[in-house]
């Protein structure tokens, strides 16, 4: 016993400007007395805010679970969305309006049931933030077999998007449009094999059953001109109605949760596919242009806007360019046998005529024009966002009430609560919510487990919270999203390394892979070895000692594995042709990296590094300071023997060399460490041997250099060196072994082993 729905069905494509225009015409003609829109029934209370001028699209209707804000669904609206226009139309004429989609309360409960079901092991679904609330004609997750693509391909287009654009969105108005869309969809639904997963399919059935239920309800209430605005895909299901009983049976006993609704600002970027929004459109900016611009001025208007943009960026674009651009776009359109140039044709014309085939300006146009950077606004009277609730929840459970007086907080990271507090504060500062200020711990702090924060809550921070809410619904999630975004846009290695550290501080595990990847990618293309080198020591520190926060540092090890070989390969090149200033900066970096490597104790990393140092140590290949330093480091590591090093030294300090160069070499070789020279017997012997082998003339020449190098040592060191030199002739001092009391000494070893956490008694190398 099937019935037919007597109202008017308007199958639309979400965010389709052509649909919106036709829909407005149709509504004007129909003058409905009741409007039903595919949307969350819980959001109906929010419709009152449509009157508020401060509600500026793009905005999204957010429906979420107040106890678990991650469980949320966004229903975005842009000024060109058919639903938005229908809602405004009804609001301005005081026509009763209802949302008829399956209530989010059910949807979330269903999603949770599926997620909890152990037999369902698909990790993709249902991720909490998937914004597919507005089921679109493109069945969001199954893009590979989008039914529109079939229609498009049948009509000879490359994909469904292009087909739909040309046929619906970019066309002049046509009132028969909705009948045609309904027909096309009926044909599709009849023939398209259903490849969706069973649970998704069931959800679709539930949604359509609920919509039908609402339709019947409206009919029962006696409305005579009902207008229904829903995704085109659903039209056939609403045209032929099965019995009310069947729908009731289907909808009976659905699980239900608690939800709250509010408006949140949205952006064109979030509307686009690029942001991962399932029902998104490729180019919201182009759609906005289609909406605002009359069809006959479309191509010219678009090119003019592009020209404006290019000129602002300092790129040449004359009116003649535009004329040629329009002509080429139109010729292209006729070659492709379409009535008007679309976004593709205009893009190709711009690239060819204005951009000289260059991709970079085109990317600018795509970002700023095709997608656009418009951000919506919501009135202050809109209810609080979930992020704010989540923050309040944390403030309560961590007993950190927001206070406007300044207060110093000393956290002991060994305590679980304090650790959580630290994580929260670090996450907030990553989000730009400046509640706490991290005081760099002074030397007087009693260890690395202390952290000092200066807390002060500013009421204006509420705005920051709302701003940050576009990143996510909980503090952790939002911080992750923001970090991932920053990692993607950052272009400097030190900045990323810093970010990495902050991420570890804030314990944002999910963000670590993204930051690591960004670091890795940047490290691969960066050619500034100095930058690479400065990135390594802090990472090595983290890798060796971890931190008191029990974070997983496996990713850091991996990073070091790829950073170090790169730095090693480029090192020799980086050390040549540098001036004194750059050389001394590099010297610090090389020493620090060398220290870091010794700390890491990973042989696989050492080999390339030593090879690189050998390359630098070859005299004449680089700055003297660095040559000397490399020679010295190799000697210390016993990678070069005394003989080789001696040869290097006499080569570097030969008479033929430029004195300044030789002096730099010596300075690098001695490495500001008078004490080592004093106590390292072989080193002393080597310098001594070299010095005494000089001829008088050579010695006189080299004396100023020596003075200069030794001047860097402190006076006591110099005095001791002098004293030692005085006695050297007689004594070959003094490495004579101390008279150990072996038995006594051994007694301390077990305790030492325990202190150092060493396992077996094989510690031969322990000093």
């Amino acid at each position: 016993m099937s019935e037919r729905f007597t109202g008017h069905l308007f199958g639309i494509r979400h965010h389709g400007p052509g649909c919106a225009r036709s829909l407005l015409h149709a509504l004007e003609a129909l003058q409905p007395d009741c409007l039903l829109v595919e949307g969350p029934p819980e959001g109906e209370a929010m419709l009152a805010l449509l009157d508020d001028a401060a509600l500026q699209p793009p905005v999204a209707l957010l429906v979420y679970d107040p106890d678990d804000p991650q469980q949320a669904i966004f229903y975005p609206f842009a000024e060109f969305s058919p639903e938005w226009n229908a809602l405004r139309f009804a609001r301005s004429r005081r026509i009763p309006t209802r949302f008829i989609d399956l209530p989010v309360a059910h949807k979330l409960a269903l999603a949770r049931a599926i997620a909890d079901d152990p037999s369902n092991d698909d990790p993709l679904d249902p991720s909490p933030e998937v914004v597919d609330g507005v089921t679109d004609t493109r069945q969001s997750a199954d893009l590979a077999d989008d039914p529109l693509d079939w229609l498009g391909r049948a009509a000879g287009y490359s994909d469904g998007e292009a087909w739909w654009n040309h046929l619906v969105e970019e066309r002049a108005d046509g009132l028969d449009l909705f009948a045609a869309i309904g027909e096309a969809m009926s044909a599709l639904r009849a023939d398209a094999p259903c490849r969706q997963r069973a649970d998704r399919q069931r959800r679709e059935q539930l949604r359509e059953a609920y919509m039908r239920k609402c339709l019947r309800q409206a009919e029962k209430e006696g409305y005579t001109r009902i207008a229904v605005v829903c995704g085109a895909w659903h039209v056939p299901a609403l045209t032929a109605m099965p019995s009310a009983k069947a729908d009731h049976a289907l909808l009976k006993g659905l699980p239900k949760g608690k939800v709250t609704a509010t408006w949140v600002p949205w952006s064109y970027h979030h509307l686009s596919f690029a942001s991962g929004y399932g029902a998104g459109v490729t180019s919201p900016g182009w759609y906005a242009h289609l909406w605002q611009c009359p069809p006959e001025r479309r191509a010219i208007g678009w090119l003019a806007r592009a020209a404006q943009l290019l000129r602002n960026e300092g790129l040449d674009c004359s009116s003649a360019h535009l004329i040629e651009g329009v002509r080429l776009a139109e010729t292209l359109a006729s070659l492709r046998e379409i009535p008007q140039p679309g976004l593709d044709e205009l893009g190709e014309a711009l690239r060819s005529v204005v951009c000289m085939g260059d991709e970079a300006p085109m990317r600018l146009i795509e970002q700023q024009l095709s997608i656009g950077d418009r951000l919506g606004q919501t009135p202050e009277s809109a209810p609080a966002v979930p992020l704010q609730r989540d923050l309040q929840h944390w403030q309560k459970s961590l007993r950190l009430p927001p206070e406007t007086v300044q207060k110093l907080l000393d956290l002991d990271l060994r305590q679980a609560t304090d650790l959580d507090r630290s994580h929260l504060l670090h996450r907030l500062s990553l989000l730009g919510i400046a509640w706490g200020k991290h005081q760099r711990q002074g030397r007087n702090a009693k260890g690395s487990f202390h952290e000092l924060w200066q807390l002060q809550w500013d009421p204006a921070l509420a705005i920051e919270v709302i701003n940050a809410s576009r990143w996510g619904n909980t503090v952790a999630e939002a911080a992750c999203a923001k970090v991932v975004d920053r990692a993607g846009t950052s272009a400097a290695l030190p900045e990323l390394a810093e970010l990495m550290q902050q991420v570890l501080f804030a314990d944002l595990q999910p963000a670590i892979p993204a930051v690591t990847r960004a670091l890795e990618n940047l490290a691969a293309v960066v050619s500034d070895v100095g930058q690479l080198l400065t990135t390594i020591p802090p990472l090595a520190n983290v890798s060796r000692y971890g931190n008191v926060r029990q974070t997983d540092v496996g990713m850091v090890d991996h990073l070091l594995d790829c950073l170090l070989p790169r730095a090693a390969i480029g090192l020799a090149g980086a050390c040549s042709a540098v001036d004194d200033e750059a050389a001394s900066a590099l010297r610090e970096a090389i020493s620090a990296t060398h220290q870091a490597l010794r700390l890491l104790a990973r042989p696989a990393l050492r080999e390339p590094w030593w090879a690189a140092l050998h390359g630098v140590a070859r005299f004449g290949s680089g700055h003297g300071l660095l040559c000397g330093l490399a020679a010295r480091l190799l000697l210390d590591e016993q990678q070069a023997d005394i003989e080789q090093t001696g040869r290097r030294m006499s080569q570097a300090l030969s008479t033929a060399n430029d004195p300044a160069l030789a002096a730099a070499w010596l300075e690098g070789f001695l490495d500001r460490s008078g004490l080592v020279l004093l106590h390292d017997q072989p080193l002393w012997a080597m310098v001594d041997h070299w010095l005494s082998s000089l001829t008088e003339a050579h010695f006189v020449r080299i004396l100023p250099l020596l003075r200069r190098s030794f001047a860097a040592f402190s006076p006591p060191e110099r005095r001791q060196l002098g004293e030692r030199a005085q006695h050297l002739v007689r004594s070959t001092p003094t490495a004579s072994p101390v008279d150990w009391h072996i038995a006594r000494a051994e007694k301390a070893i077990p305790l030492l082993r325990q202190l150092l956490g060493l396992p077996a008694p094989e510690g031969e190398e322990k000093r």
Partner: protein, 360 residues
């Protein structure tokens, strides 16, 4: 068909394809065009005609680019094909001219020594001295001949031509006339006349186009092949053809080696591994498809003359280094980083890694 000529013009080699296209082409043709724009696109991209005739693909790549190029020629703007060496610019230009005008021979090769006479007209001096200036003493350039017949003229390597000579083209392109002040006449171009210029954007020592000239051209950049499979197909096809033409001994290379060379080239060119997981430094060498072809060819020659006739890693390692390391400092770093971070990690590339390490 066996002919004595070493290389045939496009319109000779594909004469029957052009003929079939012309027969089945019912769409509107611009004046003096042998085919409609749609048919020209089909000739270049390949396809099946209504009567079942199979047109071979001349260009493997993005159809939209070719459509833009053809649409440009249908307007009155010149077409500038731009791209790194070895991306089939001249090939496309020759086939476009052959399909549109049935004649790809109206060609000016740009060199540093190209003079204005070669772009405009010269004189037959014997005639000139004997009878004075007259149309009979005039030697028309290929461009002038294209103007008088409404055909497509080609200028190869436009950026190699000295800047002052380049500018001769400005009047030609904007006014579509060629004044001959010596005779007090001018030659006006017929409809259908246009110019296809090619230029490469990686060369050093080129003469940048002036912006006045740039403005008179629509630029289409021919990219390197977008997918690995496309490129492998192009390379192995050309290597086999060339190997036969050059009578190289040895078997044609296994697909595996072709794929490996293509992958190395693509990865170094794109600055990331094919799976998108690792970023890499980019070599200063152009690493075009044409160079991949020549690497394989010289490997083939090595294997044939000095090896056992089968192309192995060691045979390509030598020419790989030569192709990739163009700048002895920067590129050497790029190449050794690539060996250490990519080649070494791939378990089935061990032979290549060893072969590269053995290179001096």
């Amino acid at each position: 068909m066996i002919t004595q000529t070493l290389r045939q013009h496009a319109e000779q080699q594909f004469a029957d394809e052009l003929e079939q296209l012309e027969k089945s082409d019912t769409r509107q043709r611009p004046t003096h065009w042998a085919l409609s724009p749609w048919a020209v696109a089909t000739y270049l991209m390949g396809g099946t005609l209504a009567n079942g005739f199979e047109v071979s693909a001349k260009y493997i790549g993005n159809r939209r680019l070719i459509e833009t190029a053809i649409a440009t020629l249908a307007t009155d703007r010149g077409l500038l094909l731009f791209g790194v060496p070895g991306t089939a610019k001249s090939w496309v230009s020759e086939h476009l001219a052959a399909a549109i005008s049935g004649d790809s021979t109206l060609l000016v090769q740009g060199t540093a020594g190209t003079s204005e006479e070669q772009l405009r007209y010269g004189w037959n001096y014997a005639e000139l001295l004997a009878k004075g200036p007259s149309p009979a003493a005039l030697v028309a350039s290929p461009i002038m001949r294209a103007m008088t017949t409404g055909k497509i003229a080609r200028v190869e390597e436009l950026t190699r031509i000295p800047a002052d000579v380049q500018d001769t083209l400005i009047t030609l392109l904007s006014e579509k006339t060629l004044p001959i002040p010596e005779l007090g006449i001018e030659t006006q171009a017929l409809r259908g006349f246009n110019i296809i210029a090619t230029a490469n954007n990686r060369d050093k020592g080129i003469n940048e186009l002036s912006s006045a000239l740039k403005r008179r051209f629509n630029t289409v950049v021919l990219p390197v092949p977008s997918s690995e499979d496309d490129e492998v197909a192009i390379v192995s096809k050309r290597v086999n053809e060339l190997g036969r033409a050059l009578q190289l001994p040895g078997e044609p290379p296994a697909l595996k080696e072709v794929r490996r060379v293509v992958r190395i080239f693509r990865e170094l060119r794109n600055g990331q591994t094919e799976d998108g997981k690792t970023r890499l430094k980019v070599s200063s060498a152009t690493l075009s498809t044409a160079e991949a072809i020549s690497v394989l060819n010289s490997g083939l020659a090595l294997a044939g003359h000095f090896g056992d006739g089968v192309l192995r890693a060691a045979d390509i390692a030598a020419s790989l280094t030569g192709a990739i390391v163009k700048d002895p400092i920067q590129d050497a770093i790029v190449w050794s980083e690539y060996q250490e971070t990519v080649i070494k990690e791939r378990s089935d590339w061990k032979d290549l890694y060893r072969a590269c390490k053995e290179q001096p």
